[in-house]
């Protein structure tokens, strides 16, 4: 009868959805995925990451805006890594940043290491000689606000290729001159809009916005776009980056949501 058929189809539906959920959660202990530490919130974050990577087209471009859409931009978090009063001040790298800034970042170098064939360090001039990309995009802060700005920089992909990224690489982690580090998977690292920005709104990246170089990840929230970059480390396995990473501080690692 109609009712019997309904029950079967409903059961099929439930089983189907449950197994989809199982598939999405499978591999919790994998070193290819962020750990959950047995925390139910981190399990939800992992589910979101798996669901987005499964359901959304890979590397869709974030909307780019026009010059007239550029808005005012608050600078939040650490706005000067050399200032010991600021949150996330690093006792060893903070004074170093101060000296580099005093020299107008002439001695500043971005180190690229880890799973690359040719570990290298790039000066600002080196990076500016590489292919550049300018994009007017929206910065979405986890707090709830957003801002549109123009960013100019070198695609992260070009820098990784220059250092000879190895085929086994799965994650790109990046460290700042304050106690902040983040990481992304290869899909976001090689995304065409993922750039290392040295320019903002047509001028050099201002101090409060991450001088001399910051990450721009346009398909995730603002806190993945780390300011004041110091080095990039490519890895084969997931690294939670310890006390300076987002995970151990209670924040989701993947924030495309």
């Amino acid at each position: 009868m109609n009712k019997d058929r309904l029950i079967i189809s409903r059961r099929t539906l439930v089983t189907g959805l449950a197994s989809t959920g199982g598939l999405l959660l499978a591999g919790c202990a994998s070193r290819d995925l962020p750990p959950t530490y047995g925390n139910v919130l981190r399990m939800g974050d992992l589910f979101t990451y798996r669901a987005f990577r499964t359901l959304l087209p890979a590397q869709a471009l974030a909307r780019e805006y026009g010059q007239r859409d550029i808005s005012s931009s608050p600078a939040v978090g650490n706005t000067n890594p050399g200032d010991a009063q600021q949150p996330t001040f690093s006792a060893d790298r903070g004074p170093l940043y101060d000296r580099l800034r005093a020299g107008d970042f002439a001695d500043w170098r971005l180190r690229v290491e880890g799973r690359v064939a040719r570990p290298a360090s790039f000066s600002l001039a080196d990076l500016k000689r590489m292919p550049s990309r300018t994009q007017i995009t929206k910065h979405t802060c986890e707090e709830g606000w957003s801002a549109i700005a123009q960013w100019t920089g070198v695609p992260l992909r070009a820098v990784l290729e220059a250092a000879g990224i190895l085929p086994s690489a799965r994650f790109v982690n990046y460290f700042a001159y304050d106690d902040i580090a983040e990481g992304v998977d290869m899909l976001d690292a090689l995304h065409p809009q993922t750039i290392l920005a040295y320019g903002m709104n047509g001028r050099d990246l201002p101090l409060a916005h991450g001088a001399p170089l910051r990450m721009r990840i346009e398909t995730q929230l603002g806190y993945k776009s780390v300011k004041f970059l110091e080095r990039i480390v490519v890895s084969d396995e997931f690294d939670d980056l310890g006390k300076i990473g987002s995970l151990q501080n209670g924040w989701a690692w993947y924030v495309g949501i």
């Binding site: 309904l6 189809s9 409903r10 539906l13 439930v14 959805l17 959920g21 139910v40 919130l41 981190r42 399990m43 939800g44 974050d45 589910f47 979101t48 669901a51 987005f52 959304l56 087209p57 869709a60 471009l61 974030a62 909307r63 805006y65 859409d69 550029i70 808005s71 005012s72 931009s73 608050p74 600078a75 939040v76 706005t79 949150p87 929206k138 979405t140 802060c141 986890e142 707090e143 709830g144 606000w145 957003s146 801002a147 549109i148 709104n201 001028r203 201002p206 409060a208 916005h209 346009e218 398909t219 995730q220 929230l221 501080n249 209670g250 924040w251 989701a252 495309g256 949501i257």
Partner: protein, 255 residues
């Protein structure tokens, strides 16, 4: 439904809450509660709402809510001008230590949202295929006259309310409320919420056009939240006023 005797009501209420309706009701109830609490905590981190693509402390707000110490905190360094003009494009560094519990609040929000999304999908699939929506929730054409709507409003305004059956058939206002929540408000909540997600709007930029920008979507998300809270208050009040024990038994044990 017009006033009828208790016996008539009992006879007519052959349809009890099906088990899948009861299970999805309580999963949704728990999800909505967790979403409301975490959503409010998220709003506390930035209690300003905007219209359009972007909005932040340096741009005008549509309105502001005095719900945390972040309300008009004023802790900003002197602005630096990028582009001068009538409404200059500026930047300013924040000097104020804001209230921000979004680490757990955001993760709890999305965890609960997954439970809600999956439950609503199952509910709608089962409700459409099994006739639950058509038979119990979608008002019939003849019910939808201003006269019967008014009659039902009057019944609800008069105390004491007649005891209601624990389950369908529902009155006109009940049908409209339940249909509005499950088929309109909750889907609107999910879609406007996803319009704030940068990975989702990159994949489906049409969402930005649909809502007129992610900050508009955030504002609509807030108003839909207010509507759902109002529904929740009236819903619980009706359960209490029409026989709390009986209604709770009906929605848990199914009798």
């Amino acid at each position: 439904m017009a006033a009828v005797s208790l016996d008539e009501v009992r006879q007519r209420s052959v349809a009890r809450h099906a088990r899948w309706v009861r299970v999805s009701h309580w999963i949704l109830a728990a999800s909505v509660l967790a979403l409301a609490v975490s959503g409010f905590v998220i709003l506390m981190a930035h209690p300003r709402l905007y219209w359009g693509a972007v909005g932040n402390d340096l741009t005008p707000a549509l309105f502001e809510l005095p719900i945390s110490r972040n309300y008009r905190h004023g802790g900003w360094a002197a602005p630096v001008v990028f582009f001068p003009g009538a409404s200059p494009v500026v930047s300013a560094a924040r000097t104020y230590d804001i209230f921000n519990e979004n680490g757990w609040a955001r993760s709890l929000h999305f965890l609960s949202a997954w439970f809600l999304v999956i439950t609503v999908l199952i509910y709608l699939a089962a409700g459409l295929s099994g006739g639950h929506l058509r038979r119990h929730l979608i008002p019939r054409a003849r019910e939808l006259s201003p006269r019967s709507l008014w009659q039902d409003v009057v019944i609800h305004l008069r105390l004491p309310l007649p005891p209601a059956p624990g389950g369908p058939p529902y009155g006109l206002l009940q049908k409209l409320a339940y249909f509005g929540v499950v088929c309109l408000a909750l889907p609107l909540m999910v879609v406007s919420g996803l319009t704030m997600a940068p990975a989702v709007t990159a994949a489906f930029p049409v969402l930005l056009d649909l809502f007129g920008g992610s900050q508009s979507a955030r504002t609509i998300h807030f108003f839909a939240f207010v509507a759902l809270v109002l529904f929740l208050i009236v819903h619980v009040a009706m359960v209490v006023l029409t026989g709390f024990r009986r209604q709770m038994r009906a929605m848990t044990l199914g009798d």
